[in-house]
Every structure is written in C-alpha cells, then in structure tokens.
Symmetry: C2
Subunit: 357 residues, 2 copies
C-alpha cells in the first residue's frame, strides 16, 4: 500500500468517524477491513497492532535509533515499541526546551525509568529561547522549534551511533500539516518542522493511528500516561501568543497548572467529565482593570477546554460556572497585576483549532 493510498484511506476513515463518532456502537459492517491488519476486526485491536508495529520496526531499524520522547502518550508508546523491537539499540531523548509544563521533566523521568528504557534528558532551554527571540508568527515558531528539535536529536544521534529517528506522528498531525491534499493548517513539530537537510532516517510507527487508538495501545502496554491529555510539540510557545518572554512563559505555565488542577478536581468530584484537552494560553492583549482601587493594565489569559474523539474536530466543554469562577479567581489572585482578565474559549473546531497558534 503506497503513501497516497494510506493517506486517502486515513482521510476516508476520518470522514466516516465524523459522521459516526463512536465506532464501538456502530454497525460493524460499516467499517471495512481494507485498511490494514489492525482494522481487520470491527473494533481496533491494540495487541495485533503492537505485534505488527514491532515487526515493522525490527525491519526499519537495522542499527541504532534515537526516539523523540516528550512524555506525551504518542511518544511514550513509540519509546516502548522501539525498546520492544531493538532493545538498547534505541535511545529515548527528552528535550527540555524551556517551554514544558510545570513538573513535566520529573514526571517523564519517573515514567521512563519504570520502563527500564534507555533514556536521556537534554537541557536545551537557552538554545530554544534564544532562537525564538522576537518571533511572533505562529508558523515561524513551530518551524524554528521543529528545526531545533532535529538539531538536538542529530547531536545526540552521533555519539550514540544512531541512523534513525523514531517519532510519534499520528494521522491528524500530517493531515493538518498538509501531508495530504489539504492546505497547511498548522505545522506539527513532528512533521512540518523537519528540515530537508536531516541526515537521520525517519520511522513513524503510529502514522496511521488516531488518538483514541493510540490510547488503546497505551492501555494495552500499561503505560502510566495512557489517559494523559495531548500537549503540543512546540510546548508553551504556541500558548504564549505574540513574542515570547520569560514572564509570559511563567504566567502561562502557572495558569495551565491551575486549569489542570481545577478541572481534574471537578471531574474527580463528578461535577463534569474529564475533557479531551484543557489548558490556558496567554493572549497578547492587555485590558484595563481595577485592582486595589487603582488602575491596572494587565494581560489576558484564555482557558481552553474541549471534548473530542480524535482532535480533528472538537467542541468546547460545558465546564460548570463555579469551576470557571475558581479558575478565574485563582489565576488573577496568583498573578497579581500581571493578569487582570480571564476568558473562556467558546469556539468549536472548526472554525477554531484546539490550540490558539
């Protein structure tokens, strides 16, 4: 099956899923068996997928490989598949680019050591932030970050002797990056940021999967982060609209942590379902406020929370008002005069996207 066939097949599946969002409850005959062995049965079979993917990786990786590992579910599945396929010939690399979530590095270290995977953390935050100085345009941010990622992986590949890079691209990534017939909506760092000059050969074992299928694989593999919400490859860079500054990154990191805490607590208390994705972004806009009886002119934080099946379409979550109230108050109280306005995104995808940049 050629690349174009695969793309056409994936797009067809996507369109069918939009019309019939829950395949488990659908008529079995509507899902044909022409899209590969892991779709032979009516319900996606993670065991069959893992078996086939490991076999493919064994063939694709004759020597050593680095695995791009962000701590998200896609790349963690990749790291495990690569370790299953080639053992210590795979080195998983976590890049701390200064734009990661609060507490992320510790979490990834804990998780990877529980796999006994060959694993390394690279601190490249100065390098990334320097390259992003003064950059405003979202596509440029994504491309710079994608390029820097490749720089780091190539640098790590050399002493390790790797010839390949394994990364967790999934179907919506390349569909939205213009890999198919569509215009470029966003350059996903897994895809759009790849420079022509890259010397490493690419392996993308999840290229044909959607997010819910990746989660099924992660559950099958008993990964700790199987239910973890998606996080963009370019990190907090695309959640700080406009030019990045350390102050803005700090605001958005703290705000994201508050949103996660409050929404997870509300879901645990049965006040709402846990959304597909929920975070904060910092809008590049100031508004007039009043704090302590004096004028303030602070930044605006947007709270985004969506329900989705695969991220290709999404609807904004109906978070209970008292939860939004707590989030809003905690953010403005924590940030003092730097933030005096909190808004909640009530846009579906389309016409919006889940992230803002």
């Amino acid at each position: 099956m050629g690349l174009l066939d695969l793309e056409a097949a994936a797009r067809e599946r996507w369109l069918r899923r939009r019309a019939d969002p829950d395949p488990q409850e659908s008529d079995a005959s509507s899902r044909s068996n022409k899209y590969g062995p892991h779709l032979l049965t009516t319900v996606f079979d993670p065991a069959a997928f893992v078996e086939e993917a490991v076999k493919k990786l064994e063939q694709e990786l004759p020597g050593k490989a680095v695995v791009a590992c962000s701590g998200g579910v896609d790349s963690s599945v990749c790291a495990v598949l690569a370790a299953k396929a080639v053992g210590d010939r795979a080195l998983s690399v976590f890049v701390d680019h200064g734009l990661i979530r609060k507490g992320e590095r510790a979490l990834v270290e804990r998780m990877m050591s529980s796999f006994h995977a060959n694993f390394k953390v690279v601190d490249a935050s100065d390098e990334f932030l320097a390259a992003l100085e003064g950059v405003i345009e979202p596509e440029q941010k994504r491309k710079i970050i994608g390029g820097k990622f490749i720089d780091v992986f190539e640098r790590e590949a050399k002493p390790f002797g790797a010839t390949h890079l394994v990364q967790g691209t999934i179907a919506p990534d390349w569909i939205e990056s213009g890999g198919g017939l569509r215009d470029t909506i966003k350059s996903h760092h897994n895809v759009g940021g790849l420079p022509e000059r890259m010397s490493l050969k690419l392996a993308e074992p999840l290229r044909d999967l959607y997010k819910d299928e990746v989660r099924k694989v992660a559950r099958f593999l008993k990964l700790e982060n199987a239910e973890r919400q998606p996080f963009p490859g370019p990190g907090l860079a695309v959640r700080c609209l406009g030019e990045l500054t350390e102050e803005k990154i700090e605001i958005v990191r703290e705000s994201c942590a508050i949103v996660e805490e409050e929404i997870e607590a509300a879901a645990a208390a049965g006040k709402c379902e846990l959304p597909w994705q929920y975070f904060a972004a910092l809008l590049n806009v100031r508004s007039v406020g009043v704090q302590g009886d004096t004028r303030s002119y602070g930044w605006t934080v947007v709270v985004r929370s969506v329900g989705a099946l695969d991220g290709m379409t999404a609807h904004w979550s109906k978070i209970p008002p008292e939860v939004l109230e707590r989030i809003s108050t905690r953010i403005t109280n924590t940030m003092g005069k730097r933030v005096n306005r909190v808004v909640y995104d009530v846009t579906n995808k389309p016409p919006g996207t889940i992230e803002w940049e």
Copy 2:
C-alpha cells in the same frame, strides 16, 4: 455642601452599597438622611429628585443650553430634566461619531421626537475616525473622543446661543475618573475628556446618582429606554482593542447586535435573567483556525455579560451554555474568515472592568 463633601458622601454610600448591595432589603436606619433631600426616605424617591433637580437647573441655566444626548438612559433623563426646566432654551444634540450601536440613530430620533424635545443629530463620523487614526492606547482614545465631543457641542452652542452644556455624568463616572481621591481607572468621556479650554459652563444634574437611581427616575418620567443597558461614551472605540479600522468597527457592531439579540431572547424565554450589561468586543489578537478545510488566521471576539447593581463592582453572568453556543456560531458564521474565535469573559470587577478599555 461643597464638592469634596459630596464626593466623600458618595464614596461612603458606595462602600456601604458594596457591603450591603440591596438597600431595599436592608435596615432602613443604615441609610442616613444627610446626603440630600432625595435620600430623606429610606428608599430613593424619584419624584422628589426630579422636583429638586428641575429647580436647581432653572437656577443653573439662566440662558440657553445644549444637552449632550447619546440615547442612553443618563443623557435622556438629562434631556427631559433640561426641557422641563427651561423648555426650548435647551437643545439636545445627538452626535453620530461612527462608533454607535447598530440602529442607534433611528432609535434615538424616534425616542426624542416622542418627547417633543428640541433635538438635533450631528453626523461627525469622518471627523472622529480621522482623529482616532493610528491611536492604540485606551486613555488616549477616550481623551480624543471626549475632546471631539466638546468641539461639536461648542460648534452647536454658538449659533444656538447656548452658554451651558448639560451632561449626564453619574457618580461612578467621576469616582473612576479620579475626581475623588482614587487613581484614574478610566477617563469617562463625561469627565476625563473635558479640555481645560472649554468655554461652556457645565451642568450635571445626575452627578450624585447611581445607575439604579437614574433608572428609577427614568421609569418615573416614563422614558422608553429606562431599562436600556449602559453604553460607553466613547462608543465602539473602546470595544475595538488596538487601532481602529472600518472593518473592525463593523465586526464589533454586528457582534454586539448578535449578543444583544440572543441574550434578550434568552431572557424573554426565561432561560436567564437580563444582565446589567452585555456586549461584544473585538480583541486585537489573531489565532489559527480551520474553515472549509483550509487554514484561517482570524480575529477574536469576546462576549462580555455582567450582573451589577451600580457598575462599580460586577460579576460575570452565568449565561446558559446553549445561548453561548448560539452566539459563538452566529458570530463566526456571519463574519466568515474574519473571525474564527469567540471567547466569554469570566472576570469579575474587580479585578477586570466591565468594558475592556
């Protein structure tokens, strides 16, 4: 009673109202009678206020006067008080500055003609928009617009032979403009925009009132717009963040009309209470979206709706999600690719203000 006494008294009342927001349900003895005849009784008496205000205006206006008439409830009450006090010696002037609400001019003309008030419309939109070209800073916008208003009123005053300007400043306007001891939060056009050079003498019959009291007077006078929501003096200029363009003004005018229609329909259907104020503003920020399978990079509209007693403090309204959904969809559908994102403001005042600029 001097000006400073009045200010101190108004501020004291304001603080008491914050602690005890519904005076009608409060202990009568907690509202003393030292602040003027209209507060002699425990509940504000609009009839007594009108009688006193007309008497005062007769004294203050020995000759002719122009009345700044925006179509809002404050200025309409002023127009009627002035007409009662000095008849045709008062000329109410409505300035169309190109930043008014959809259908506003027709509404004001209809309303004023029903009063048989001496009334005139001045179209000054070119003049205002030219003066605002390239201006970004909110305070500068407010001051330019306030200054232009005075230009127009002085120009109209000359041929009419007026020596005075009557305007509908109310207590929160000058408290927030720094008329008292507080810092300037915002220059209200009634106050902060007044140039030193103004040749007209000022009469402000509502200076000591809060909004709910003005509404009581309006109901007593049987004004059609007694329940109409407040609208800022600088109009849509402070609802288009950043530099003004005709496209942005058009977007915000249409969006405001959609918000008003949907929220008023929801309130009429018993889905929510009618808020104190509800409108849209255009944020000076673009985000990535997907429309018709291609990338869009459109503007963001914020929906603002608050409950309040007097505008000095406010809480964001708990609009039902299905109403927000309708508003969001109508705005993005109507605007096409120009707007791909709608957010809902979940900030109380403080720390935000009701308007964004």
